[in-house]
Symmetry: C2
Subunit: 371 residues, 2 copies
Amino acid sequence: MTGPRYTPLVAALPATVPFIGPETQERARGRPFAARLGANENVFGPSPRAIEAMAQAAREVWMYGDPENHDLRHALAAHHGVGADNVVVGEGIDGLLGYLVRMLIAPGDAVATSEGAYPTFNFHVAGFGGVLHKVPYKGDHEDPDALITRAAETGAKLIYLANPDNPMGSWHDAATIARMIKAVPEGALLVLDEAYVDLAPAGTAPAITPEDPRVIRMRTFSKGYGMAGARVGYAIGSAPLIEGFNKIRNHFGMSRIAQAGALAALADQAWLAEVQTRVAEARDRIAAIVRANGLAPLPSATNFVTIDCGGDGAFARRVLAELIARDIFVRMPFVAPHDRCIRVSAGRAEDLAAFEAALPAALDAARRSAG
Amino acid sequence: MTGPRYTPLVAALPATVPFIGPETQERARGRPFAARLGANENVFGPSPRAIEAMAQAAREVWMYGDPENHDLRHALAAHHGVGADNVVVGEGIDGLLGYLVRMLIAPGDAVATSEGAYPTFNFHVAGFGGVLHKVPYKGDHEDPDALITRAAETGAKLIYLANPDNPMGSWHDAATIARMIKAVPEGALLVLDEAYVDLAPAGTAPAITPEDPRVIRMRTFSKGYGMAGARVGYAIGSAPLIEGFNKIRNHFGMSRIAQAGALAALADQAWLAEVQTRVAEARDRIAAIVRANGLAPLPSATNFVTIDCGGDGAFARRVLAELIARDIFVRMPFVAPHDRCIRVSAGRAEDLAAFEAALPAALDAARRSAG
């Protein structure tokens, strides 16, 4: 018995996961983390109304969710001033990125992104046989001009840019992004990942022009709305592109509970404003803690602060390991020169107190093991 | 601006949905259904412990779910007496079918299924460019011998069979399925969709032999466990095949709430037994109602009863339309000769009372419009 015959593409892929979850690390360590500050989760959580809506929906979970996600799509359309046919809801931005790549990328097709940008996007591109063409960041920012140039050179069908950026926390203003959209080469599509935009300064997101065929905007309830565990992302784009998702998506893939929670969360913009305030306070607190330890916090338009540890990648990896050994779950950028940094999510006072308590000894241990 | 360039495969696909949701019909009708008996949902719902676990998890939804689904996979492995590396959890059987087809089917690859079997499987095969080779049912049963023969003739990489079957409610005994597994041609994989098996008579499911590379078993929390809206399916197969899902799946795609709910539902086997009793009673009630109206209920190993309306497809479609017009949500098989039937899900007493009240007039109207 030879067993199943995989496609050549899938046979050649590694079994991989873009991110190791904190639970996996906890199982390996044999004990839980004291502070969960590595996955840019929003510890302030969703609106209490969303929690109540999800608890209520759990009692009705014998019913499939609406496969059209009608109510949520229409609420999102009204919120953003676009048509409901400009909105598709999916299983997180990760799920939508997978669908989008599948729609556009056949083996050998070119894709442009930045060296060190979101690995899950790269996972999907590799999974459909696309060829990634990467440009460096410009300092700590993704470089729109370099991405456009590389896309034009390679005939890329997709261009990925996150604004604000993960893992660096940096951002471009709306005018810069609007110029980038105008410069998208003929036949290319800009994937503008705005997962963190709900936590960014006003003026970060360009106006949404839903019928522009050059850009698709990706948004999520995982960050500002505090519902990472519910898996609700959405995309805004031209109606023909959005309709294309219906050719391939898992139509009944959205949880009824998640749909109800997202609808309630969207309706509670006062809670989002409160979260924005708490996240800003947490960013300031993280910056103060790391400055007090002689490190440099990078400016952030997200719910995390990327911290320059002042050495090379090897040193930052030691700092990360020492923090994890002290029960602080944090992550760091994967590639140089950004791997001089670690990345700490906005936490509650008690989370950041645990980080503050652990950092001096972690730094000391990292420095001693260097010598 | 030409907009994005789709792959040739996706460009050629229709925008389609395998099933229209009842919410879509309600919006079109302008009023809700009185009884929701069309989607084979389990109106008796999940264990109260599962509802409580989901409500609790909603309060922790700021955290991503464990991307390894560790606790649920291990509980399922223990429940079925297999290894945790024989189990993959995904966004419903629909989601897992999509991943499986992607792993095995490239454009032009052959797939064997039955004419009138699960359309969502066909949706995925078409979506990856596979070529469907269909065999007829034998009476009201899927035909294992014909499927095996057709698979051998066409070099099919996948063979689909549901046991029990949807939409006919029929089933094969374990020995028949075990013989089919032994007959799977070299290099083919049998997708044994056991979505309804928790509601079938003892002796329907063959013993699970997890390392057999010829079969993958698909199970779900949507039917017996009453959690259709949570989107939790799982597959049991050989470790290398199960590991293959990690090459392509949406690793963070499972809701934290759904994982918690499924874990609690699995632990409450007493509730499942109670549901089995209620479903059996409802099947008997449906059979009595339809017999009293001169129609023939088919034997069922599921939570629905397929009803022979005693005429042709056109007549059954009229009966269906007249029931829907009377606020009873039901569905029917798509293809002849099964489209002589309609399909009614096991409901509560009040749901079936509404069906009972509507059926005589629906039949009368269907007969009158024939003349």
